[in-house]
């Protein structure tokens, strides 16, 4: 974990601004969705894609800090249906991989409709939440 964090910090120092230039956060994920925040960019794909209502899925994602921003101390993935005011019935587990990549296991959208998938990226100075609205058939 410490090695991964150090590597992520080192990479953050040499990477260009995540939102600019030819390089794009999460290029290695292929056709990833990108969520742009003030401090971080998150690129993610789901497996399977598209998400199927009532079936577990995983989220593979990369967190790219903007220039001068520290890598997050903690990363949390969750989801909820704002229209119904409920979340998932399952708590995802996040496993850190190499090079700032993560995999969130155990998500399940148990109803069709509009879900907000959220990434909470926290440091000692605060949390940035990036949200993607997903329509599940």
């Amino acid at each position: 974990m410490r090695l991964r964090s150090l590597l992520a910090i080192a990479l953050a120092g040499v990477m260009p601004d995540a939102g600019a230039g030819a390089w794009a956060c999460g290029d290695e994920l292929g056709s990833a969705r990108r969520l742009e925040g003030d401090r971080y960019v998150v690129a993610y794909v789901t497996v399977p894609a598209p998400i199927v209502a009532g079936a577990h899925f995983v989220v593979d994602f990369v967190v790219c800090p903007r220039a001068g921003i520290a890598t997050p101390d903690s990363v949390r993935v969750d989801a909820m249906m704002p229209e119904h005011r409920h979340g998932m019935n399952y708590r995802p587990e996040i496993v850190a991989a190499k090079n700032g990549r993560y995999r969130a296991h155990g998500l399940l959208f148990h109803m069709s409709g509009r879900w907000d998938l959220t990434f909470d990226l926290s440091t000692a100075t605060g949390t940035e939440r990036l949200t993607e609205t997903i329509s599940v058939e």
Binding site: T46, A49, P50, I51, A53, G54, H56, E83, H84, R85, H86, M88, N89, Y90, R91, P92, E93, H105, G106, L108, H110, M111, S112, G113, I134, S135, E137
Partner: protein, 390 residues
């Protein structure tokens, strides 16, 4: 995701176009009343039926014919119970769609909950009204040892299988060796045989399935045979009623848990907390899919058990039951408190939102249905009855 979504919408539009009224094509009254594209899309998601049968990897004898025969024998054997008078089939009666027709099950004592059907239960994520079990075999063991149901125990069951010549022979055929010395292992194996039998209890196709498939292939003639009242009821089901939010997919259930405003007092001074206690009992059970009795080393069906989350809002939630053959499984709700389908629909029509116990969940709202609407919904639900046995 978007590609698939686009395909579905396009397919729906194509079907809708194909089903559009054409002079000289539709001979029967009401045949021009085809669903709009959005409703059609939602209707198509309620099938096709049957779903493909898959063996349960957590049960090494799932799909095994010898196990099915062993399980069928155990299912009707009253010696599994403490009183020697109660079998699985006592409450799960084949002539009542594997329910008992009572408001609450009665075994060694009167229970708190309505007896669920055993039809089409193979492959569910959770079992029972509270989902305290995550496999059909663990659910099959539960009533045998429950003091208010069959009131048996592991030692009694194991001794019976060891000593009875016929059951012992079934065991050897099914598992390839004589029953050993561990009572819990023999009891769980017996429950796995019962599960193998129960997996075979599948409902046949319904009038709704014929209608749904006719819509899918653009078969105007067949679709037009579906009763007009049922068609209006179905339109309410996927439209104003939004019933398919929870009663979704070919099983007419999302397999999860909701608070639908039914009081959760099992008695005046005792509460049935439903899913809340179900999760706690699941997590404490040695028979859950994370435990040693799971025959699948990869734990490939244990994801839900590993990640399920206990929350205060689970209090008073109960599992969404399938609606297949619902007209044959009265009375209704987790406590059997509603006698007829008409009572159930009226419950949702007149729902008192203040009585909902969930922490902020807002799926339900009073539907304010007319008497005709209620008749139409009943007509639709009756078309979910299998045409043939079981």
């Amino acid at each position: 995701m978007s590609a698939r979504g686009t395909f579905v919408v396009i397919a729906a539009c194509i079907v809708a176009t194909a089903m559009a009224p054409q002079a000289g094509v539709m001979a029967q009254p009401g045949a021009s009343d085809f669903p709009e594209a959005e409703a059609l899309k939602r209707i198509l998601q309620l099938g096709p039926w049957p779903v493909a049968a898959r063996n349960d990897p957590s049960n090494r004898v799932s799909g095994n014919a010898d196990a099915v025969a062993f399980g069928a024998a155990l299912f009707i054997d009253t010696r599994l119970s403490g009183s020697q008078r109660i079998a699985c089939a006592t409450c799960h009666r084949p002539d009542r769609a594997f329910t008992d027709g009572r408001d609450r099950g009665v075994g060694a004592a009167r229970g708190d909950r309505n007896t669920l059907t055993l039809l089409d239960v193979a492959g569910q994520r959770w079992y029972g009204w509270d989902g305290a079990n995550d496999s059909l075999w663990s659910q099959s063991l539960r009533p045998i040892v429950d003091s208010r149901e069959m009131n048996g125990d592991l030692a009694r069951l194991a001794a019976l299988v060891r000593s009875d010549a016929a059951l012992r022979q079934h065991y050897v055929r099914t598992f390839g060796s004589a029953p050993g010395t561990r009572d819990d292992r023999i009891a769980v194996d017996s429950a796995k045989a019962i599960a193998a039998y129960v997996e075979t209890l599948r409902s046949t196709r319904t009038a709704f399935d014929d209608y749904r498939d006719a819509l899918a292939r653009g078969d105007v003639s067949t679709a037009s045979r579906y009763p007009t009242a049922a068609r209006r009821g179905l339109a309410l089901f996927v439209g104003k009623g939004r019933c398919d939010l929870c009663h979704s997919g070919p099983r007419f259930s999302n397999g999860e848990f909701h608070d639908v405003g039914v009081p959760f007092f099992a008695e005046r001074t005792r509460v049935d907390s439903g899913r809340y206690d179900g999760i706690r009992r699941l997590q404490a059970s040695p028979y859950n899919l994370l435990g040693a009795f799971n025959d699948d080393p990869a734990r490939s069906t244990a994801t839900s058990t590993r990640h399920v989350s206990l929350a205060h809002r689970n209090y008073g939630e109960f599992r969404v039951p399938s609606l297949r053959n619902v007209a044959r499984t009265a009375p209704y709700m987790h406590d059997g408190s509603l006698a007829t389908l008409r009572h159930v629909i009226r419950h949702y029509s007149d729902l008192d939102e203040d009585r909902l116990h969930a922490d902020g969940e807002s799926i339900l709202r009073p539907l304010r249905l007319s008497d005709v609407d209620i008749d139409d919904l009943v007509a639709f639900l009756e078309t979910l009855t299998s045409a043939g046995p079981p």
